[in-house]
Amino acid sequence: MKLAVLVRFAGRKVRTFVANITGNAIALFTRFLTAARVNWVGIEPIQRQRVYFANHTSNADFVLVWTVLPAAIRARTRPVAASDYWLKSKLRAFAGRDVFRAVLIDRNPDTRPADPVELMARALDQGSSLILFPEGKRNMGPGKLLPFKTGLYHLARARPEVDLVPVWIENLNYVMPKGEIVPLPLICSVSFGSPMHRAKGEGKKAFLARAEAALLAMSQGEGADT
């Protein structure tokens, strides 16, 4: 009995260890491919609880944001991702659960056991920061942004004190377009804007419009020259 506990404990340690190494390898590889440049426009890279909300053009989006965060901050930052994608295979599940420690969300409202906003709020209560894509799916069109889903608003209402930071990711769509397996080495940039909060009594529409505008503003900032 004791032995079984010990084995399980050791197994968990090994799993964490492998996950850490994999995470660092992925970050290194991402840096090599994208030579990512970071513009800290509105915030400093300090340990503070935040919800980073970014534009979504590629499956690798959160990997890039996650990579450019300093290691100590990265360790406490969890991406919010779709469970139907990340639980598809054992490998993906290992990456999603152990390496990135993603907050997995069921995109289908009929089958999901828990409310996504509830899950995100719980992760915040545990002290984590979040990376989240309010467009809900990858933007394949010519426009810069798709209309935001309402999740960001509900989260801002549920946890009004947390900083919401707009993050503009530039050029990653060409690194790994939808359906491609091998990424191209092209230079990407990530720009972090000023934190925002929901104003008292601010409605859903007004808040989401403001959030979209804040994100779009980052696309025209320093990071937009590539």
């Binding site: 030579a35 440049r37 050029n171 060409y174 377009p177 939808k178 491609e180 091998v182 191209l184 080495p185 092209l186 230079i187 020259d225 590539t226």
Partner: protein
Amino acid sequence: MNDGTEFILLLNGVFLILVIAWAAATLLRARLSPDGSNPMVENLAARIGAWWAIAAMLALAMLAGRGGVVVLFAIISFAALREFLTLTAKSYADHWALMAAFFLILPLQYFLVYMDWYRIYSVFIPVYAFLYLPVLSVLRGGPDNFLKRVSESQWALMICVYAASHVPALLSLDLAGFEGKAILLIAFLVIIVQITDVLQYVWSQLWGRHPVAPSLSASKTWEGFAGAVASGGLLGAGMWWMTPFSPLATMVLGFVITATGLFGALVMSAIKRDKGVRDWGQLVAGQGGFIDRLDGVVFAAPVFFHLVRYFWATI
């Protein structure tokens, strides 16, 4: 590689010059730009920092022999191609073509250079990449911006891979009485381009009146170019001892290398301006990328290579 006395001498000389340059820049900075606000001083300091890096990398690669130099330039080509293709026109349909550029054509070109198969590496990109890459693009997507996309990709390959690969190719030239010392030719090329680039600036500041390309840059003038080319010739003549050529020949080579490097840098500026960027990349924040530091060398390398090959090498 047989690193003879010239190589040691050169290494010491370069080290000495870099120390002096670094001391001068530090002094200038303390005097003129203590808060980092004087762009000229900052630019000079950045340049000298890059020289240290270039010298250190070249010295290390040279110790590793011809293979080391080939690998070094393959890596530089990779970084440069990444900078260039970041800015060019592309569509999702070009994914395979660009993948081939990075992962097939680039390594193959440097492999051919390493194997010294001149008759293949001299035509590989201008003929085969040129003809077949657009095929990959056309198989995968529509004709929107097609000519723009394929020609910009080809330009990227020609500059960042083809032209750049002529620097390590210098090592395979057969020059009578110069066996094992071809590494000095690379030093000759890089030193002349880097120094005359600065001299052009100095001459322009001192006597510059007529801009070479007024719409591009007010600081590059015909007077500066003339002064730099003249200085490049003198510099070349002064470095004849590290080549198998006569002082007169190295002077002419100095003229040609300087002129090609300066005009090449001007061409690269025009591309940057067209794409609306100040620098190709940010190797160190705000101080340009690989292409910014090596544009002149890349332009001058094939010309220098062919002049030496045509007039002196045993083929």
